[in-house]
Every structure is written in C-alpha cells, then in structure tokens.
C-alpha cells in the first residue's frame, strides 16, 4: 500500500493528475490502519517462534523496524492529511523525499521478514520439529 501510494504520488507529480493524489492518500490511510494489525500478529508469532541462534538478530531488527515504521507511517499520513486539507496543486518536495525514504524502509522490512521465513524458516514445520528436537 505504501509502495503504491508513493508510486501514485510520483506519477501524479509528473502527470499533474490530482486523482492520483487522492488514490495515494487513501492507500496511505489504509496502510496506517493495516500496519497495526500486522504488528499485532507479528508480535504474537514472534513471541511463539523460539528463534534459534542464527536468526535472533534478524528477528530483533525486524521487530524494532516494524514498530518504528508504525510511528513513521502514522507521522507521514498525518503530514499528508494536513497537505490534503490545504488543497495544494502540487505535493511539497520534502514530503516526496520523506515518502521515498519510507519506501526504502518498507523494502528493508520486507527483506528482513523474507529472511526470517525463507532463509531461517521460522514457523515452518521442519524447523519447528528441529527446535523441538533441541535446536537452539
């Protein structure tokens, strides 16, 4: 949602299509609500994960970045709310810069989450069995 919001912002900026700014704002709002649901499930599942040694540091960074993103995303959405109320014809450049930064953080966060599942295999059956069998 964040990725698509920023994509619409940048496309809207260059094509001067105000509809895309609305699409972006609503995607961002949707993302801000969703991220808290994502964090709740993330916390439950991370709490149940019993990560083994090699995966601990990745899980820690993923947790810290996830919570940070909820704050950053809420801030950006709040900023966007104000910009939207002002009904400007164009988005301010600093806002665009921050949202591109936000995209970077979202990509890093997805990468870390992918590492946890696809490299470390947390919550996959073979790894869970191995942890029960003494892997730590």
């Amino acid at each position: 949602m964040v990725l698509f919001a920023v994509f619409c912002d940048i496309t809207g900026y260059f094509t001067k299509n105000p509809k895309l700014y609305e699409v972006s704002w609503w995607n961002l709002t949707f993302a801000t609500v969703s991220i808290f649901i994502a964090i709740i499930f993330g916390q439950i599942e991370a709490g149940l994960a019993e990560p083994y040694r090699a995966s601990v540091s990745t899980l820690n960074v993923h947790t810290v970045l996830g919570w940070s993103l909820s704050g950053i995303l809420a801030l950006v959405t709040g900023w966007r709310y104000v910009i939207r109320l002002q009904e400007r014809p164009q988005l301010p450049i600093p806002y665009l810069a921050v949202s591109v930064l936000l995209v970077g953080l979202v990509c890093i966060q997805s990468y870390l989450g992918s590492l946890l599942v696809w490299v470390y295999g947390l919550h996959t059956i073979p790894v869970v069995d191995a942890i029960r069998g003494g892997l730590s």
């Binding site: 949602m1 990725l3 698509f4 994509f7 619409c8 509809k19 895309l20 609305e22 699409v23 609503w26 995607n27 949707f30 083994y52 040694r53 090699a54 995966s55 709310y81 939207r84 109320l85 997805s110 990468y111 992918s114 590492l115 599942v117 696809w118 490299v119 470390y120 295999g121 919550h123 996959t124 059956i125 073979p126 790894v127 191995a130 892997l135």
Partner: protein, 198 residues
C-alpha cells in the same frame, strides 16, 4: 523438478534458487494488497450514503468519486503486477524440490499442492484481468454518470475472489511452510545440516 536436471544449472543455492529470497512470495503481497484495497474502497464507495456521518465525525473530507478512483487504479495496478507474480511463481516452481515424505494440513502431497497452486494462480490472474475489464466498462461506459460506479454483483464477485485467494494463499503457504520449497533452513535440515551454520 528432477534433481539431476537442476544440477545442470550449477550455481543454485541450498534453497534451490539462484538468489537467497524467492521473488514470488514478495510480489504476491502486492497482488493481494492492491486487489483487496480495490474491492474494499469500492465497497466503501457503494455504501457511501451510510458512512457520510462517520467521515464527517473524523473530519476527513471525502468525495464519493475519489473512493471509486481508488477502486479503479488499485485494480489496474493489481492486474499488471499479477502477471509478474505469476511469472515469478512459474519460474520458482519449476526449480522446486519439495520434501516428498510430507502430507500437508489439507491432506495433500507436494505435487498435488504445486499443481493446484499453479492452476489456481493462472485462474486468479484471469479473474483479476476479467474484473479489471468489467470494472473499466462500469467506470467508462455503463455507469459513467451514475453516483454508484459499481454494480453489487461486481462487489460480490470481488468477495468471492477473496475466498479463492485465501485458498490459494494457504496452498502456497503449505508449499513453503510444510514442503520446505525454497526455504534454506528446511533444505539444510533435510540434508542433515544445522541451520545455525547460516
């Protein structure tokens, strides 16, 4: 895939891919997020008369047509992205070496799960593209001047596709989580190695 054939590739990692993280499960989040948001905003747009008071209470200025804009643009983006999702899925499933001695929570073996997930993927791609065409006709032809841009039957079809996506997603999760497809740690355990060596 036959392991002898995979050896011809030469440079595949323990996870069976030429890179460490599979692409398909990442792209699928874009497919799902965009499609779900598209239908969700069309529902919000369709029920707009009921929600007016809520938006007013939240001090969020809304025009009904902008909610339908979200429904349309998100759907178009979903349709485009999903071609890449399916493409990445076909590439990665053709390199898959699932654990053979496992039965999933749905009582299926790896091959059955792979075939169902593959057929399901192409089916859902077709449905998303079909929905986009249907949505386009409603937006630009049939309901161009109507306050409610979408038909109820369109929204119902969207919800039905949510259900298909749930089934498809669960099959995909079985491929990773139970059959260990492209999961480095699972493949290491299968080889008798310790994933702490990662």
């Amino acid at each position: 895939m036959n392991p002898d054939l995979l050896e011809q590739w030469g440079s595949l990692g323990v996870n069976g891919l030429p890179y460490i993280i599979p692409i398909h499960p990442n792209l699928v989040h874009l497919t799902l997020g965009l499609f779900i948001a598209a239908i969700a905003f069309d529902i919000v747009g369709a029920l707009f008369p009921v929600e007016k008071a809520v938006f007013k209470f939240l001090a969020i200025p809304v025009t009904r047509s902008s909610l339908f804009d979200v429904g349309w643009y998100n759907l178009v983006a979903s349709a485009i992205v999903t071609f890449f999702t399916v493409m990445a899925g076909l590439f990665e499933v053709s390199l898959a070496v699932p654990l053979a001695d496992v039965t999933s929570a749905w009582g299926l073996h790896a091959l059955q799960t792979m075939i169902l997930h593959g057929v399901g993927g192409v089916l859902i791609l077709t449905l998303i593209v079909g929905m986009t065409v249907w949505r386009g006709f409603q937006r630009y032809q049939w309901r161009k001047d109507m306050a409610r841009q979408v038909q109820w039957s369109y929204l119902a079809a969207g919800l039905f596709i949510f259900a298909l996506m749930f089934v498809q997603g669960t099959l995909g999760a079985h491929l990773g989580g139970e059959f260990g497809v492209h999961i480095t740690a699972d493949q290491m355990l299968h080889l008798g190695e310790n994933p702490n060596q990662l």
